[in-house]
């Protein structure tokens, strides 16, 4: 004891304070260094494919921007692709191609819930994580679906918007993107539910599908206007529908008689919103959706499922139930706020 004290006393400099550890606390959680890159980053980055319904349209281009932002933030490799034609057959080809390329995860906005299932299952058999975004497939074919909004909420909201601008009475028609797209059909279903519950004096007179083709959309819009002279409202489902409908209304000189509501981007609809042809257009941020999809795909590759109330950086809180992620509430663009949005 004395000897030890002497040795210690001799061993140190007179002015140097001596530190002697009494106790090391291992019970506390390890200190996580901030901004520490994940371990996977040192290996090959994840390769995530984002498949849109159709390539080249504004909505999916904007979503791709968000996805690219996420890929930058998260350090993953993004393959953004889509069919030239918005149908299941072309989309299957795209997926087959991705399987051959060897990606780690595929996030697909399915044009058809049923017919895409086999190729999605094939991809999963190859060890590729498959999720859907924007438009769902059958649940067996994917791990979860990243939905922009709750279908019921959106459908009922669209019906309410239409009703409020038509004073809850009159005839209207719907133009949808694809007859097979699950999300679009669900919205239409919930619109009809809302109408039958609250708006008995309103009547749905016709429906049209544009197959995500702007030319066809315009033709169908003219057809609807020409076939139904007493039409007072038009609802555009899928982002290219409202601009085509609005253009047809303007071209046929029916402004003031027929109003347009629906789901589209503010950039496409800005002139018609400002002119009053379309008093309100609803959407979400496709950028945000793209970002969220890539984020969740990467998280899944790391082995974690999303959970209800999870806070996603740069996105916000999400909801999650029964394999469906819901990004948030729909946004309404009106004359007053349309200039705030840039997509």
């Amino acid at each position: 004891m004395l000897l030890a004290a002497l040795v210690c006393a001799c061993g140190r400099q007179p002015d140097e304070p001596r530190y002697e550890i009494v106790y090391i606390d291992h019970s506390g959680p390890p200190v996580v260094e901030q901004n520490e890159p994940p371990a996977e980053a040192s290996e090959r980055p994840f390769k995530i494919a984002l498949v849109s319904k159709i390539s080249g349209i504004a909505y999916f281009n904007v979503a791709e921007e968000g996805a690219m932002e996420a890929a930058r933030d998260l350090g993953v490799e993004l393959v953004s692709t889509g069919p030239r034609v918005a149908d299941a057959r072309h989309q299957i080809e795209v997926v087959e191609n991705l399987i051959r390329q060897g990606v780690d995860a595929i996030a697909i906005a399915a044009n058809d819930p049923e017919s895409l299932a086999p190729v999605m299952l094939k991809a999963r058999e190859q060890g590729i994580e498959v999720i859907t975004w924007d438009s769902d497939s059958v649940p067996e074919a994917r791990t979860f679906f990243v939905s922009q909004v709750d279908a019921e909420t959106l459908g009922r909201h669209l019906m309410d918007l239409l009703a409020s601008h038509m004073n809850e009475r009159g005839r209207y028609a719907i133009m949808t993107g694809s007859e097979t797209a699950l999300n679009l059909n669900e919205w239409i279903h919930w619109m009809e539910v809302q109408r039958s519950e609250y708006y008995p004096e309103m009547e749905l007179v016709d429906m049209a599908a544009n197959d995500e083709d702007p030319e066809k959309a315009y033709r169908e819009a003219l057809r609807l206007l020409d076939e139904h002279p007493d039409l007072e409202g038009l609802v555009g489902i899928a982002s290219i529908s409202p601009p085509a409908l609005a253009k047809a209304v303007v071209d046929r000189g029916r402004e003031g008689e027929v109003l347009v509501v629906g789901v589209s981007t503010p950039e496409l609809m800005r002139p018609y919103i400002k002119s009053g042809v379309a008093p309100v257009i609803t959407l979400w941020s496709p950028k945000k959706l793209g970002y969220l999809t890539v984020y969740l795909a990467k998280q899944l590759l790391e082995g974690r499922m999303p959970y209800d109330g999870q806070r996603i950086p740069e996105v916000g809180d999400i909801r999650y139930r029964n394999g469906v992620v819901i990004m948030g509430e729909p946004l309404d663009f009106t004359k007053e706020n349309v200039d705030e949005y840039h997509f």
């Binding site: 304070p17 001596r18 530190y19 950086p313 997509f343």
Partner: protein, 596 residues
């Protein structure tokens, strides 16, 4: 060891033993238990405090997270978001209107009283500053609010800016933290501006003041560089703690020892901010109770040592004092003073020793006295013997007999008598030794008897029979003549004839008898009556001397007894009308040649 130990005095030995057995073990025991106790307190506190700090850190993190969450409230207001998204204004009034919208939102949301720790909130967006503050502030450079943080892209994260990184000052220099968040437009995927939430350190106070209950303890929060974010001493906030790089661990406790004494540090790192929460307390403060106990124990120990030390000194002194006195008395005795008395009351071993010593000294004193008196009596007896070897009465009678013989002309008779008398005189005067050979003693007795024979002629008969080699043994001088004198006197007083026989034998050594030479002198005189005999025997027992009829016998007896002790001596036996038998027993004294 033994020889070294033996060198010390008894008192020293007792003291050393006492020290070895009492003081040293107790002080070692006390020292070790104190050290051990202090160490265990350190360990206990060292384990306990980090847990509290850990908890406190979690609480601080939670509070900070609350503040961070607070910043999200901005997204809940569509008007504010609209205002922030607006980049250019056609008129000043529209800008002022937007500013009013945003600032009133900030006021209602952040400064309405629910969040009392929020000092101020600033939003910097597109060269616009929206601000609301509880206190007056100065120098908030909104174009460049964080000098070194320019261009940093926080995305969805946050940053905490310390007062030293910015120029912002509040009234009264209130310490604060600036929580910086980017306001993101999630829909448009771009940044709308930056929100600065200034909060007081009150929340840290609430959490940490309880822990720093002791005044001696210091508690502070610092970042990696040692910049003190919060300190229980408000003066210290904002200063640097330079020793942060020396901390050996990030989480736990350690002891720092330098010239000023030891201090116990406990540290815990925040997960959210990476800040280190430090609890510093001097070891002295932890062990103050122990130190008080230690002081009390030391006082008690010193008292104990004094008391037991005095007791042991007292015992040692009590033990050695009689021994020292004994040693002094023994020196006195050694010098010849036997008149000592060792007074002691105790009944222990020393008391017993003292009693034995007293007894011994008394015994020695008695023996000396006895020896001395015997010597005196011997001298006296010998002096008398010398004085009365030749009885003047006998001398007179002899000389008268010689005169008568001269008258009668008996020439040969005269010559012989004178020769005999001369020889007797020479024997008694010339020889100064106490003992003579038995042969010389016999001749002297014979000389005496022959002279008496000349006087009394046929009335005296004698016979001397010796069965020993009379030249080889010695005897005390003048033992026979007094007996013969006595016999002749008593024999011729009442009778006309007397016969005296002398037998000399050597008694061999027996198992119980040392061996002796016996002279037996018998006469056939009138003897003694039993009363007379008893009287004579009494006189023989009394070793003092009186001049009376039996003086000669007593003298012989005394001399033999005083010189050789009993059972040697003279015994007398007599019957009235039949005669007296006198026995002299002496030890065997071999003659060792002529004495010079």
């Amino acid at each position: 060891m033994n020889t070294i130990f033996n060198r010390y005095r008894f008192t020293s030995k007792l003291m050393i033993t006492y020290l070895l057995l009492t003081v040293i073990p107790i002080s070692l025991l006390g020292y070790f238990s104190f050290v051990q106790y202090t160490r265990s307190i350190e360990t206990q506190v060292g384990k306990y405090v980090p847990r509290i700090l850990h908890q406190a850190n979690a609480n601080i993190d939670r509070a900070l997270e609350e503040f961070i969450k607070l910043t999200d409230l901005i997204y809940s207001s569509r008007e504010v978001m609209t205002a922030l998204r607006t980049v250019s204004y056609p008129s000043q009034s529209e800008f002022l209107q937007d500013r009013f919208t945003v600032e009133s939102f900030l006021s209602q949301t952040y400064l309405s009283g629910n969040y009392r720790d929020v000092l101020a909130v600033f939003i910097v967006s597109e060269n616009r500053l929206f601000a609301n503050s509880r206190l007056a502030y100065a120098d908030f450079d909104f174009q460049n609010p964080v000098p070194y943080g320019r261009g940093f892209d926080l995305r969805d994260k946050f940053r905490i800016v310390l007062p030293d990184e910015t120029n912002l000052r509040f009234e009264g220099d209130v310490p604060y933290l600036l929580i910086v968040r980017q306001i993101a437009d999630f829909d448009n995927r771009r940044s709308l501006g930056t929100l600065f939430l200034a909060v007081t350190l009150g929340f840290m106070d609430d959490i940490l003041q309880d822990i720093a209950e002791r005044e001696a303890a210091n508690l502070w929060v610092m970042n990696d560089d040692g910049r003190i974010v919060y300190h229980t001493d408000p003066e210290m906030i904002g200063t640097f703690y330079p020793d942060v790089y020396r901390f050996p661990i990030k989480s736990g406790s350690f002891k720092k020892t330098d010239g000023g004494g030891a201090e116990l540090f406990s540290v815990s790192v925040s997960q959210l901010t990476g800040w280190t929460l430090v609890h510093q307390i001097p070891i002295k403060a932890l062990t103050s109770l122990t130190d008080r106990t230690l002081n009390a124990v030391i006082v008690i120990f010193v008292l104990f040592v004094i008391v037991t030390g005095s007791i042991s000194i007292f015992i040692a002194w009590n033990f050695t004092r009689p021994l020292n006195r004994l040693s002094r008395l023994m020196r006195d005795v050694q010098r010849g003073n036997f008149e000592v008395d060792f007074q002691i009351d105790s009944r222990d071993e020393v008391g017993m020793l003292a009693h034995r010593f007293n007894d011994m000294v008394k015994e020695i004193r008695n023996l000396i006295r006895e020896n001395y008196q015997i010597e005196l009596k011997q001298k006296e007896a010998e002096l008398y013997a010398l004085q009365f070897q030749i009885n003047p009465h006998f001398m007179y009678n002899t000389l008268e007999a010689i005169a008568m013989s001269v008258e009668d002309g008996e020439k040969e008779k005269v010559v012989e008598m004178v020769t005999l008398l001369g020889r007797m005189l020479r024997f008694s005067l010339s020889n100064r030794r106490r003992t003579v050979t038995i042969a010389e003693e016999i001749r002297h007795a014979e000389d005496y008897l022959r002279i008496q024979k000349y006087r009394f002629e046929d009335a005296l008969e004698y016979d001397i029979r010796s069965s020993i080699e009379a030249d080889r043994y010695e005897t005390p001088k003048f033992v026979l003549q007094p007996v013969l004198e006595n016999g002749i006197k008593h024999g011729l007083e009442h009778r006309k004839r007397v016969r005296i026989e002398i037998d000399i034998v050597k008694l061999p050594e027996g198992p119980e008898h040392p061996g002796a030479i016996r002279f037996v002198i018998r006469d056939n005189g009138i003897g003694m009556s039993p009363e007379q005999l008893a009287q004579v025997r009494r006189k023989l027992q009394d070793l003092s001397f009186r001049r009376d009829s039996s003086f000669g016998l007593a003298n012989v007896h005394s001399r033999i007894v005083l010189t050789y002790g009993k059972p040697f001596g003279l015994m007398i036996d007599s019957r009235e009308g039949q005669g007296t038998e006198t026995t002299i027993v002496i030890p065997i004294l071999p003659h060792e040649g002529e004495q010079p």
